[in-house]
Assembly symmetry: C2
Homo-oligomer: 452 residues x 2
């Protein structure tokens, strides 16, 4: 059996390793146009920040290690075409092209940075995006010789880079076209994140929302000024674009595979595309949302791993269902933890729920303990049924704990009433006697019914 | 309506506050033989350690604050008898006794330290237990003038005091009669906790298991030697007995209320005793176990709060169910977090399950991050059905997060198969790409069925 895997960062690497263990006699090959395989893309901001010296710490498994376990990896080899009828793919190396037979094909082509339509955006060498190992190395090297940077976009990666640059002494400007930073959160929570960040004393960064970048100008191939539609100008030593990502689904689309509304590849719960012998996993494909039931595109590293595993199992003939995602995420910016799971209030409305929410701001442990931090937690539920829909938490490290605790409840489709007596651990160094989650549930109970 | 509450630490104080809000026109009174009301008993070890200077930080709500919200508090006033037929209680103050009418009675008498049968245990002024504010003050004062201490017992409180004393420079001996410290954990996890503690360089403490204390001797009213059955002797400046607690259920028992097998007061899911107008809550009563379904006695501060609330609601005529407990707990000893929820493997067998378990030791975040810690996580499930039964985690701060995440799953009666794709948050400072919980689930899947 020939198993061909296109892409090898998270989902592809996981799928390859898993399927080789399941079918030791099969031929498993990874083709990637990347210069590296199997690495932690999510770790790049921490490498840039300088948490560790050698980028090689980000490499999970080398080409040699794959080779040793019987998996061939072809780096810098682009797959140009999928030919489902003849069960072949067309590979293009540096100076040749060739056809490769497959019995099962796993597409794990990932995603790439979205580049907004900005005048001059392609004209300079010091405008970066962050996705691959080289991007991280280039940005770190540039940062070490710079004093000013403009970040375009304020999602998780934008804010992680804000931290990295600020900690390295740079003057940072973040330009966000929307009205709020980190717009995956509800607006009220985004505002709190911004407040927390801007309350840092002697901060050396500026966040500007509602600023659409219109043009980048410079000299000698180096950008030095970022201009916005409103007429503002920001001098800079380099620019990083963190304006989101788009799925690498063109290869699948050109092969006639079904593409979802999001633009990512459509798969069923077995991670199978519209062609039964072709699977897709990771950032290039959609997945069902556990709460809304709709197909969504939530490209995250942890999901990629699970999907890669599921695709491998099914491709190997071991029936396995991937139940879907909650969109659980966490990120850190300058000691502020930002975490979420399930639907925001905004998304809940879009998906046809009538949400109610409760927001509590509370210490993360008992107030008299040293190093007490604060978290603000927002929990969203369906007014009609009390079904828990999602939650968002920002603040100290403890924010993340509450969101994972809620994620399990969402997975189990618990209601507010079921959750409100949840037996969560308590001890002064770990939480207040009544956990913020339980406070939120008690408030929600009051909004849903008078019974509690 | 006259509402009488006996006891006012956690459950009683919560019940009083809640019922007064629900029934503002009622007369609500708290009677307690304690010198303080409404305080954080769980915070006493941290006060002793010196995390904060003033013990008053432990007081949640003062007598005056209760008074201001219309609740009368009678300190140092023992309730000597409950007379259910005449709906009265007999109160004893310093120099008088009197009868008090009630329409609803809430018993929140808590628990008291268990004193093992040790020769000389009552003969010395420097043998302490830790339960009340005075105990904390007395132990702290004694500690500040001492160099050596013997702790009898190695449960959560014993180990929390170990930390407090070690951090204050004392030479500490912990004597445990069982074969393992902290026996609420499975033996394999207890061993790991002990290993972690004993691996601390230059540690100034000694843990001795299998040592039954037979006698305490001393001179001038002060104990100076602790002797064990095996013939060992330990010199000491003072002794703290942390050998567990027993429920204060005698008052209820003498009034003819039903008592459970554990010795604590039996209640239904409305926190009602066998007398319909009498409720019980907190450390003096049993509660249903969410997983086993059996009545258990798990006296914990967080549970006391929820039960106090539930008792108040039902006493006020607002029908509310308390679903029970998972026995979730967390504690810290010298940078080791120890946390658990649900059934241990040992308990699962006692309750008639055929458990399987998976234990993983893993970094709590991605290995390349600074301050990476390690946690060992054991998850227990039912072999026949895959139902999740419980978990135990020890190690860095992140241990607690995994246990709360599991608690929600236990509350929802999820199986290993349902949990294995749980969408938990991931980012390098917060967890490895594949969370230890998911690793454990994948291992369990293999033990339960070949399907995954």
């Amino acid at each position: 059996m020939n198993i061909v895997i296109i892409g090898g960062v998270a989902a592809g690497a996981k799928a390859a390793a898993k399927i080789k263990r399941l079918l030791p006699d099969s031929n498993v090959s990874i083709y990637t146009d990347d210069t590296h395989v199997s690495y932690s893309s999510c770790g790049l901001p921490y490498y840039i920040e300088g948490n560790f010296e050698d980028y090689k710490a980000l490499l999970v498994r080398s080409v040699e290690e794959f080779k040793a376990s019987g998996i061939d990896v072809f780096l810098e080899t682009k797959i140009d075409k999928i030919l489902p009828k003849q069960r072949q793919v067309l590979a293009c190396g540096k100076d040749k092209a060739w056809l490769i037979d497959y019995d099962r094909l796993i597409i794990a082509t990932g995603a790439r940075p979205f580049i907004p339509n900005i005048k001059g955006v392609n004209d300079f060498d010091n405008i970066y995006t962050l996705r691959k190992i080289e991007d991280g190395i280039n940005i770190r090297n540039k940062m070490l010789n710079s004093k000013k940077v403009v970040i375009i976009g304020s999602g998780f990666i934008g804010l992680e880079l804000l931290e990295a640059f600020v900690k390295n002494g740079l003057e940072v400007v973040v330009l966000e076209k929307g009205n709020h930073i980190i717009s995956s959160f509800d607006a009220d929570m985004s505002l709190l994140i911004r407040e927390r960040l801007e309350s840092i004393p002697d901060r050396n960064f500026l966040i500007q929302t509602g600023e659409i970048v219109s043009e980048v100008t410079g000299t000698n191939g180096l950008a030095d000024t970022v201009k916005t539609l409103s007429g503002k100008e920001f001098k800079t030593d380099f620019v990083v674009i963190c304006a989101g990502i788009i799925p690498n689904s063109e290869l699948a689309k050109n092969a006639g595979l079904e593409i979802g509304e999001s633009g990512a590849i459509k798969v069923n719960k077995l991670m199978q595309t519209s062609e039964p012998n072709i699977y897709a996993c990771g950032d290039c494909c959609e997945e069902p949302h556990i709460i809304s039931g709709h197909s969504v595109w939530v490209p995250l590293g942890s999901t990629a791993n699970k999907e890669g595993r599921c695709a491998a199992l099914n491709a190997a003939g071991v029936y396995t269902i991937f139940e879907g995602v909650l969109g659980s995420a966490v990120s850190r910016c300058l000691n502020t933890t930002m975490s979420m799971t399930g639907l925001t209030e905004k998304e809940a409305i879009e998906f046809g729920f009538t949400p109610v929410s409760a927001t509590v701001s509370k210490y993360d442990k008992v107030a008299y303990m040293p190093d007490v931090g604060e978290i603000t937690l927002k929990v969203v539920a369906d007014k009609a049924t009390g079904l828990l829909l999602g939650g968002q938490a920002i603040g100290s490290l403890g924010a993340d704990k509450r969101i994972n605790t809620l994620a399990s409840a969402l997975l189990g489709h618990l209601t507010v009433h079921q959750f409100k007596n949840n037996d969560l651990t308590y001890s002064p160094p770990y939480s207040p006697t009544i956990d913020p989650l339980l406070d939120a549930m008690n408030i929600l109970c009051g909004k849903i019914t008078r019974r509690c």
